[in-house]
Amino acid sequence: MEILVCVKQVPDDSVKVVLNGSGQPAIDKIAPVANAFDTYALEMAARFKEANGGTITAVSIGPDEFKTSLKNCLAVGADKAYVVTDASYDGSDSLATAYVLSKAVAKIEELEGVKFDIIFCGKETTDSTTALVGPELAEKLGVGVVTCVTELALNGDKIDAKQETEEGYNTIEVAMPAVLTINKPHYDPRYPTMKSKMAARRKQIPTLTSADLGTDASLVGAANSAVKTISLSEPTKKQAGIKINEKTFEETFAKAMAVMTEAKIF
């Protein structure tokens, strides 16, 4: 089983982001981490590999610093990693990113002499939260996609993916190759071992550029992106909540119902 996991490095999402003087997110002091949903994707891929065999490659589009996250990926299940770096990709929207990723898929397949069976993406990134790149990548590659997957199982030459929806779950059968976007499963990603971390630090992560990928310059970068950011604003501050913590669960529940009834929520 050949598996690709797409990983983006984002500012640590446990830190609140504010806008700086020029209206841009002040993220320079926030530690970079692998996007949480991508870490779920990698963990799911690692478990899938452990059950079914195969190789996991991680890929990231971004500056050289993204190798930090890729090294962490190499310590928790990825066998290989590539970073795709090119100044012309800066400011790409999700569609342009998906286009670059599709070219990266082709290039890595060529370099490694393999065909990917499953491409894992996080459901969304915790910085821009568009949730678009996965489905758009599937479109570019001309393969099926299942979004918001929380479990998967191999079913002959197909995959059964459990998709989380607003109402519950769908089980979807999809032919390989396929793109899956991953939601938070019921388990947490593993911790790297001291040994795997030290080994990962020593692994080489090749860099691919636009020249390697052969991307069309008119389809990438801020200027060629369909989505333009006009301005950014901080989310409105939440009002302070009230804490209801009565002696028993029943009393707490009754109090919560009373408060909500009075506030005419029902």
């Binding site: 090294k71 911790y191 790297p192 071992t193 001291m194 971390k197 030290m198 630090r201």
Partner: protein, 379 residues
């Protein structure tokens, strides 16, 4: 802070910190109350390789240098000193094997730990604590075997250990020169653990008696020659004391972190208490104690790394860090006022945990004996 670390160690430290923050720090509160040994936390920590930091590279370990080990151990102690004790005690038991063992013994012991096992170092007895040479445990040679009888007490990790380092008298007439060390597997007939200690602190670490009743071990389980057991044990403690100091530094750092955070939020007389010089100076004094203790550990490690004598410095590091950890924990309680005394807040536990650092691996009186002997010499 304190240590000058390589990028690689900083990376490992970030992982250990994340693990401790997510899996140890808060979780240990409940285990501190129940006194239960948190197996599920330890399973994860062992899987991560936190119990085998000191296994040498040639025996399958990661070959981490001492300063890196110290930094990672401090982080563990910051989260929970019982957790630190459990993780370091297997390495304590490995030391005599590395000091006096055969290739085969070293390989075997390292393998056991790397496979997720635990180990115990069994020196203390009911009548032989500070006076370790007064051991009543005997090992009598019988053909290709020794028959060991006796009781060890206060043994860390004993109920979960896969192997035990046991000191016993092979020749009582020779005093300390009649003591021999053995490497004993847990499956050995005649070995049992009993009398689980209900402790004041480090309650996530398990401590009990180990009893030997006509326990037969092959001659091949002997560590080094007959009569070298006491020297091996002393060499072990010389090396490990610095790392006990590191644990005490971890407690101090936690106490400072908690006190500083609290001093910024607690308002009295219209100001956060951290704005009062009386509190600021207490925090400064806590920091002086913590950082000087840390530097003493670093110094002892430097000497070890350079092949220089370090016995005195290791004793100073342990003694100084242990004594100061108790004081710094007390100071943190003082800064939190009534809340510091409450079990709802994390600092009273730090005091209970800190106290053991004045007792185990040689009481601080014993450390002073080691230090003064080094300073005064024979006369």
């Amino acid at each position: 802070m304190g240590y000058i670390l390589s990028d690689e160690t900083k990376d490992l430290l970030a992982d250990v910190k994340k693990f401790c923050d997510n899996e140890v720090k808060e979780q240990c509160k409940a285990y501190d109350v129940s006194g239960e040994w948190p197996k599920e936390i330890y399973d994860k920590a062992v899987e991560m390789g936190l119990s085998t930091l000191e296994v040498p590279k040639e025996y399958g370990g990661i070959g981490l240098d001492r300063i890196s080990c110290a930094a990672l151990y401090e982080e563990m102690a910051k989260a929970d000193a019982g957790f630190f004790t459990t993780m370091t005690s297997s390495n304590l038991a490995l030391k005599p094997v590395l000091i006096a063992g055969t290739e085969e013994q070293k390989k075997w012991a390292c393998d056991v730990l790397l496979k997720g096992g635990y180990a115990s170092f069994c020196l203390t007895e009911p009548m032989a604590g500070s006076d370790a040479a007064n051991s009543k445990t005997t090992a009598v040679r019988d053909g290709d075997e020794y028959v060991i009888n006796g009781r060890k007490c206060f043994i860390t990790n004993a109920p979960v250990a896969d192997f035990f380092i046991v000191t016993a008298m092979t020749d009582k007439t020779k005093g300390v020169k009649g003591m021999t060390a053995f490497l004993v597997s847990k499956d050995t007939k005649g070995l049992s653990t009993t009398n689980h200690e209900n402790k004041m602190g480090i309650r996530t670490s398990t401590t009990s008696d180990v009893v030997f009743e006509d326990m037969r071990v092959p001659v091949s389980s002997r560590l080094g020659e007959e009569g070298t057991g006491f020297i091996t044990a002393m060499k072990t403690l010389d090396l490990s004391r610095t790392f006990v100091g590191v644990g005490a530094v971890g407690i101090m750092q936690r106490a400072i972190d908690e006190a500083v955070a609290y001093s910024k939020t607690r308002i009295t007389f219209g100001k956060p208490i951290g704005k009062f010089e009386a509190i600021q100076f207490m925090i400064a004094d806590m920091e002086i104690k913590c950082e000087t203790a840390r530097q003493m550990c670093v110094h002892a490690i430097d000497l070890m790394d350079n092949g220089l004598p370090f016995s005195k410095e290791s004793a100073i590091a342990k003694c100084y860090a242990g004594d100061n950890a108790v004081q710094v924990a007390l100071d943190a309680i003082q800064i939190l006022g009534g809340y510091g005394y409450s079990r709802e807040y994390p600092v009273e536990k730090l005091l209970r945990d800190a106290k053991i650092f004045q007792i185990y691996e040689g009481t601080n009186q014993v450390q002073r004996m080691v230090i003064s002997k080094n300073v005064i010499g024979k006369f």
